[in-house]
């Protein structure tokens, strides 16, 4: 259901040009049905009628996360890396930590959050969900989750589990 709703509205957004006709809605509906049936066999989707991804609380939390803690972390980290580009003071290395995420889309969301934040880069995620992070400036050789991604981990657990 989640894929259906997202693809339906994405098609309408792309094709919208001032006014909406019934043909556009019909085409969007047909394409969304095709896309969601094709993708319902992929691992982790839970089948066509799975409505777990449509929870309003999760979507509200997700939007709050993107515009609140994540935007703040992004701005701070960008400023930090901008200073390091100019000064050249770096202490790079690859560290590992386990965020204890069970679902695959939770892992994807946290890995993307970490990679999008400057100064940290997800190099690998193994089968048990252990993250290998390349950090631009290490403060310790065995950092905790807070050192690497701040509050991203607990927000990801709250949204996806």
């Amino acid at each position: 259901m989640f894929v259906f709703v997202v693809s339906f509205f994405t098609y309408l957004l792309f094709s919208w040009s001032g006014s909406m006709s019934i043909q556009e809605v019909t085409i969007a509906f047909a394409l969304a049905v095709v896309i969601s049936f094709v993708s319902s066999g992929s691992p982790g989707s839970g089948g066509f009628w799975n409505t777990k991804g449509l929870s309003l609380r999760r979507w509200w939390d997700f939007l709050y996360y993107i515009f609140g803690p994540f935007a703040m972390g992004l701005a701070q980290a960008n400023w930090d890396v901008a200073k390091r580009v100019i000064s050249g003071r770096i202490n790079p290395g690859i560290v590992k930590f386990d965020p204890h995420l069970k679902t695959s889309h939770g892992r994807m969301m946290l890995a993307n959050s970490i990679t999008l934040t400057p100064g940290t880069l997800t190099v690998d995620v193994d089968d048990n969900g252990v993250f290998y992070i390349h950090a631009l400036n290490l403060t310790s050789l065995t950092p905790t989750e807070e050192d690497i991604c701040g509050v991203f981990g607990q927000w990801t657990r709250r949204i996806t589990e």
Partner: protein, 125 residues
Amino acid sequence: MILGIFVGLLLLVSLFFNTLGVVSLYRFPDVFTRMHGATKCPTFGTLFAVFALLFYSFVRFMSSGESRFLVLFIHVFIGGVVLLISNPTGAHALARAAYRSGALPEPAAVDALEKTQKSKGGVTA
């Protein structure tokens, strides 16, 4: 006039961060540290360019009421969302491919991935 100045300021910030991305390619020593500068700083810079365009099209739509500015607004917004999803995915794929093809982080204070690969006797799946 005020709109032009504000949009210009946003574009200047965008240019600043994009320039830093280029500078970091020359200042940093290896592929991973360069990737920090070359993929992240431009993302932040490009986000500011997206904000400038969103703001511009929104104000023009409010003042003129022409729907083409609203269409511009929606398309730029979708472009920004796609950028936010595709950029970290691409950076992760590049970093992983670089590590597995033998580009080691040099210098590195610690390399946790190297230990696991040796203990498993090969590259992780």
